[in-house]
């Protein structure tokens, strides 16, 4: 059965957005990513105009991340205090990122910078997570080797000297409030430049920089994504009129279910296993992007305002 999407001006088989929502929602609940970096290209592939795909995806992520945050909150995996500091930083970084994009567009090389940032960041994040997780699993298997407690690095000691130190009980870490705000700015800036929610950047930051346990990272990331996407959905609907309500509902049917299943399934996996799976996902997207950049496209013209 086909359904007509009033804002996208496109007819689509009703099962397509439901299955897409289910798949991406599953990843969202499993890894704590919004899934925008997967969903938007998939929607474009099925004929949804790029601007509508990006905006409607935000509305869908609101539903999926609500469902996922709620599921993780019940499991005790959301660090609200950390999430709020990351949000403050992310909001400031997003504002700065929008200005950076304006400057790059004026210079005429925005698309090159966006695509290269995408490939480099995805490649670095995916590669680092994969190698680090494989090494961690190998270490865990060598039971006869006694693990030496790691000494604090210079950076860690410097961070400890920053003001506004506070304990993040849920995460079991102590940081200055400035640390999550700083990383929030960093992720928000990159996310705005790349035109994505930033979940796949925020998760590694929380794991490797803030040293939070993986399960709390997933819940806290979803909490932060929820608020980011509420803001983006409203702005897209208000200024660009590009949110397709019908498409969002169909995606939501799948993604809210998928997020719940993902949250339950994720609990059965170890933190390192989750990291490896996310790393493989990120690396697969990197390979796809590199192939798009190197293979001759079938069409040499595309809609303006399609994003990166």
């Amino acid at each position: 059965m086909y359904i007509y999407l009033p804002v996208a001006h496109t007819s689509i088989n009703i099962l397509v957005p439901i299955v897409l929502g289910l798949s991406v929602g599953l990843l969202s609940g499993l890894f704590g990513v919004g899934g925008g970096f997967l969903m938007t290209p998939l929607l474009i592939m099925f004929g949804i105009p790029p601007t509508v795909a990006a905006a409607t995806d935000s509305a869908q992520i609101v539903g999926a991340s609500t469902s996922g945050t709620y599921a993780h909150w019940r499991l005790g995996n959301v660090d609200f205090r950390m999430g709020i500091f990351l949000l403050i930083g992310g909001f400031a970084g997003g504002l700065a990122g929008v200005q950076v994009i304006k400057i790059l567009k004026a210079m005429g090389n925005a698309d090159f910078v966006i695509k290269m940032t995408y490939v480099v960041m995805l490649g670095l994040v995916g590669g680092y997570m994969f190698i680090e997780s494989v090494n961690a699993m190998r270490r865990a298997r060598k039971k006869d080797v006694v693990q030496q407690p790691k000494g604090e690095s210079g950076i860690a000691r410097a961070l400890k000297k920053l003001p506004f130190q506070m304990e993040f009980k849920k995460s079991g870490v102590t940081h200055s409030a400035l640390v999550p705000i700083f990383f929030g700015v960093f992720v928000g800036l990159l996310a705005a430049v790349m035109g994505v929610g930033g979940g796949f950047l925020l998760v590694p930051v929380m794991v490797y920089m803030l040293r939070m346990p993986m399960h709390v990272v997933v819940g806290t990331s979803l909490f932060q994504i929820l608020f980011n996407c509420i803001e983006v959905t409203f702005l897209q609907a208000y200024t660009n009129h590009t949110v397709d309500f019908m498409l969002a509902i169909l995606l939501l049917i799948g993604s809210t279910l998928g997020a719940q299943v993902g949250a339950i399934f994720g609990r059965k996996l170890q933190g390192e296993q989750l990291k490896i799976l996310l790393a493989l996902l990120v690396l697969a997207v990197t390979v796809k992007m590199v192939s798009e950049l190197t293979l001759t496209p079938s069409l040499l013209l595309g809609a303006a305002g399609g994003g990166g």
Binding site: M1, Y2, I3, Y4, P6, V7, H9, T10, S11, A59, Q60, V62, G63, A64, S65, T66, S67, G68, T69, Y70, A71, R74, L75, G76, D111, F112, K115, T233, F234, Q236, A237, Y238, T239, H241, V243, F245, M246, A248, I249, L252, T256, L257, A259, Q260, I264, E292, L293, T294, L295, T296, P297, S298, L299, L300, L301, G302, A303, A304, G305, G306
Partner: protein
């Protein structure tokens, strides 16, 4: 004397009259063969289950003419991004404006356009992809070769979006139930064609000259819930955005509660 007068003066007049009558019969369209055009499905309603339609154009035409049918919905300026290789990688390198380009462009004909009309006539009437290459301008301006290449890419882009189509030799000419000479063509109407009023123009051509034209219209309009949502998105973005967020939050919490009551809680 009378016979000589008849053969000298009257007979040539009669012969000339007969010849003129015959010539008129073969060249000018006669009353019963006046060109008409009718779209069978001229009011297409876009509702929630709309997936395009099927449209046929038919009418009466002289059996000795060729026909071209053009369906358009007005010209506009369209902004596009051009892809090219930069530092060995494919990416958007430039924004272009295709000026005076038809939003929608369908051509059907009884035979090859170049064999029916001269290039100047095709351009003057915007008939065929070749004519579009002359009527569409590109901003910023390009060299002739670059413009030709870009217009080919543009037509390919629009064909990929199903809003441009050119099918030659796709009009059937026959006799209708009333014994009148008629023509008929049928095609899929793409769901990608946005709500608009589409002009259907049928050209009758004989001896490389357009001898007659007929017009019809296809109206595509949104209806029901599709129209309500589309109007709300365009005219009341704040309410629309708030509603979208509200529904998303409700769906997220709703599914969360269902899973909780289903035993998903720890």
């Amino acid at each position: 004397m009378k016979m000589r007068f008849f053969f000298r003066r009257i007979a040539p007049l009669i012969a000339a009259t007969l010849l003129m009558t015959l010539a008129a019969a073969f060249s000018a369209p006669s009353a019963w063969a006046a060109l008409t055009a009718k779209a069978n499905h001229d009011d297409i309603k876009i509702n929630y289950n709309y997936n395009g339609s099927t449209v046929s154009i038919s009418g009466i035409s002289d059996p000795n003419v060729d026909l071209i049918i053009k369906i358009t919905s007005g010209n506009t300026d369209e902004k596009l991004m051009r892809k090219d290789k930069e530092a060995g990688l494919w990416m958007n390198v430039e924004q272009l404006t295709m000026e005076n380009a038809p939003n929608f462009y369908f051509i059907r004909s009884t035979s090859n356009l170049d064999s029916l009309l001269s290039a100047d006539q095709l351009i003057a009437n915007e008939l065929g992809y070749g004519a579009l290459e002359q009527t569409i301008d590109i901003s910023p301006a390009k060299s002739a070769d670059m413009k030709k290449s870009l217009l080919n890419d543009y037509i390919k882009y629009k064909e990929d979006g199903k809003v441009y189509s050119q099918s030659l030799g796709s009009i059937d000419q026959n006799t209708n139930d009333a014994g009148q000479p008629s023509y008929y063509t049928k095609f899929d109407w793409p769901f990608q064609a946005p709500p608009d009023t589409y002009d259907v123009t049928v050209y009758a051509i004989k001896n490389h000259v357009i001898t007659d034209t007929a017009q019809s219209k296809v109206v595509v309009e949104q209806d029901g819930i599709v129209k309500a949502l589309s109007d709300m998105a365009q005219n009341n973005g704040a309410l629309y955005g708030t509603a979208a967020i509200g529904v998303s939050l409700t769906a997220g919490f709703g599914v969360g509660f269902i899973f909780k009551s289903g035993g998903g809680s720890h």
